[in-house]
């Protein structure tokens, strides 16, 4: 099977859904312009025309309500924000209008609206270009929230999101755009609300979201060398959150680390911890441990940014502590370095 990257997988899902259904259209600030949203909309304007792939005024709230208006009139809009931070300007439409629309109509109206937003990180993105805040959205009944990690998931989940009759937020970590794997060429969908065992293991469960799955995989690789096997559960959809895979896994391992790509307080990690303590109470061999952003706005300078973000090493140390193992020497390990991967300007 051919390999493509995360960004290409998203583009392919959009392309195929636009081919399949003429009601699907893609829009947002700078969408068809030069940088093509990390390449994810490349060629769409040329193929499907400016009525189905277009730029908008910088008016996030209005253009979000616009999406709702179009969706309840038979269209299937995909609204794109180059950072989640800008989507926050549309919280009123999202929380007061979009999330409540179906409910206020007794579930009789379809709201097939997808909102894609990018989670920024690194190279001085700073506190206004790097939020994830997925828990903010997942907190609201009536919104589905998807956090894809792998290219294959990105394609299958976006396809499912576009075909879904409800509003779906699709949050893409910008560092994942380079991830590559085998992805089927034909259209396929992965049901929203189904988690994924990213890695089988027996000793300890790591529930990770978005980029933190990459860190968890690295941690698992390192720990394997000393005979510790991590099981990694990627929920993929955090609202609705089907906790079955998590519960099954923790029942097996008795240990749970939640590595969330977000702040911890009142966040998705707290939701996972609550469910695990509720449903696996008697089986837990140690308390659930949560790993996430430092409780500060995201700093801009590299050295503080490195402190701000959680990483594989933190997962390794936490796992060792839980299992009562002495800390392994990590000086020879080759951890992910954004420095080597990416040099500006944005």
């Amino acid at each position: 099977m051919r390999r493509i990257n995360f960004g290409e997988a998203i583009r392919e899902a959009l392309w195929q859904e636009m081919e399949r259904d003429p009601q699907v259209f893609v829009y947002g600030v700078t969408v068809p312009a030069h940088s093509k949203i990390f390449g994810t909309v490349a060629g769409l304007a040329e193929r499907f025309g400016p009525e189905r792939c277009f730029d908008t005024p910088i008016s996030e709230e209005a253009m979000t309500g616009f999406g709702l208006g179009a969706a309840i009139n038979g269209m299937r809009p995909v609204h794109i924000h180059i950072r989640i931070d800008f989507l926050l300007l549309a919280m009123n439409q999202l929380v007061n209008m979009i999330s409540t629309y179906s409910y206020s109509h007794g579930g009789n109206v379809k709201v097939p609206l997808v909102i894609r937003a990018v989670v920024g990180r690194g190279w001085g993105q700073g506190y206004q270009h790097s939020k994830s805040v997925h828990a903010l959205f997942a907190h609201i009944p009536g919104l589905k929230v998807v956090l894809p990690t792998t290219p294959k998931d990105a394609k299958g989940l976006l396809t499912a999101a576009i075909r879904d009759e409800n509003p779906v937020l699709f949050l893409e970590h910008r560092w994942l755009y380079w991830a590559e794997e085998e992805v089927p060429e034909e259209p396929f969908s992965i049901p929203l609300g189904e988690g994924n065992i990213l890695r089988q293991g027996n000793d300890l469960t790591v529930v990770a979201t978005s980029w933190m799955n990459v860190e968890a995989l690295k941690a698992a690789e390192v720990l394997e060398k000393r005979g510790v096997s991590l099981e990694i559960v990627d929920p993929r959809t955090i609202a609705p959150f089907d906790d079955r895979l998590v519960i099954q896994s923790v029942e097996k391992t008795g240990h749970c680390i939640v590595a969330d790509n977000d702040w911890l307080d009142c966040g998705f990690s707290a939701e996972v911890a609550a469910r695990v303590s509720e449903k696996c109470f008697g089986r837990l061999k140690s308390p659930v441990k949560r790993i996430g952003f430092a409780p500060t706005p995201c700093p801009t300078v590299r050295c503080l940014e490195n402190e701000f973000y959680p990483n594989a090493e933190e997962i390794i140390r936490t796992a060792e502590e839980k299992l009562g193992l002495p800390p392994i020497d990590l000086t020879k390990e080759d951890f992910y370095s954004h420095e080597r991967k990416f040099k500006g300007p944005f």
Partner: protein
């Protein structure tokens, strides 16, 4: 016609702002050139948004605000002072505009005679918060100077697909707000216009709106030219570059009696100052990791 020697000397002494304005223009241009030179070293791990080509708008406004206020020190580069209305900058389009309205409200209540100033691009005109702020300032008759730096672009998108109105000043004119506009790149023309706009705030007892057309030489982000991207032409740049603000002002100063040597000396001073700033920045230590947690909330000192 050639001016007499006494005439040019008179201009020279009277036109102090002319030299000060030139210094500021030159400083901004050279600071950006310095950044461009050193950016590829990857020491500045951050996106860059260059203003090259648009120096005159900020220079004219800031200079008028500083010299127009009793406490101001002309030529100072520390213009991000709250009492000048420059409270913050934001990387979220239009989001600092209402802060100026609140600051103006505070100034009015205190009766300190100060105005607040909001800078924003043409893209900000598309955000609801711009209109909400304009309306609030107008109905509350607050001393706000709204400055729209209109380079016709939002990243790589031109106005025709973003804005459904022909003239922003025509629209704003219908508010309780005085309007001023210019497409000049002549910093002195702009400086006088800003002075007028500031005076109108006092005499009319309401906000002023300044619409200034300008042109961005480089890409939205980064230090490079971007004429190869196809969204704008090099010819457009060349048209504007004929009226490059720095060249214009330099020519004026020469015609007013400053010598080439005098200007070169001024420029050299600025370049030395910038080189020193660069060395300071390079030598400055990075913050210690404990700093991460400092300042989330106000800390008593």
């Amino acid at each position: 016609m050639k001016k007499s020697v006494t005439e040019t000397l008179k201009n020279k002494t009277e036109n102090r702002p002319g030299l000060d304005l030139y210094r500021k223009l030159y400083l901004i241009r050279q600071a950006e050139r310095l950044i461009i030179r050193h950016y590829p070293e990857d020491q500045m791990k951050t996106p860059m948004h260059m203003s090259m080509g648009q120096e005159a708008t900020a220079t004219a406004v800031c200079h008028a605000l500083v010299t127009g206020s009793a406490s101001g020190r002309a030529g100072s580069m520390h213009l991000a002072a709250p009492d000048k209305g420059l409270l913050c900058t934001s990387a979220v389009v239009a989001s600092s505009i209402p802060l100026a309205v609140g600051a103006a409200f505070a100034n009015k209540r205190k009766g300190n005679g100060r105005i607040a100033c909001a800078f924003f691009g043409d893209g900000a005109l598309e955000e609801g918060v711009f209109w909400e702020s304009l309306n609030a300032a107008s109905v509350m008759k607050l001393p706000v100077l709204f400055v729209c730096e209109d380079n016709g672009l939002a990243i790589h998108t031109k106005q025709d697909v973003r804005q459904g109105f022909k003239s922003i000043t025509e629209v704003v004119r219908n508010f309780e707000c005085s309007t001023f506009q210019s497409d000049s790149t002549d910093v002195e023309v702009l400086y006088r216009l800003v002075r007028q706009a500031v005076e109108a705030i006092g005499s009319e007892g309401r906000p002023s709106f300044l619409h200034l057309k300008c042109y961005r030489y480089l890409d939205h982000i980064g230090i490079q030219e971007d004429f190869d991207l196809g969204y704008r032409s090099k010819e457009e740049f060349e048209e504007w570059f004929k009226r490059d603000t720095i060249a214009l002002q330099r020519k004026r100063l020469l015609s007013q009696g400053w010598s080439e040597a005098e200007l070169a000396e001024e420029e050299e001073k600025i370049n030395r100052h910038l080189e020193k700033s660069l060395r300071n920045a390079q030598a400055a230590p990075f913050p210690p990791s404990e700093d991460l947690h400092r300042g989330v909330f106000y800390e008593t000192h």
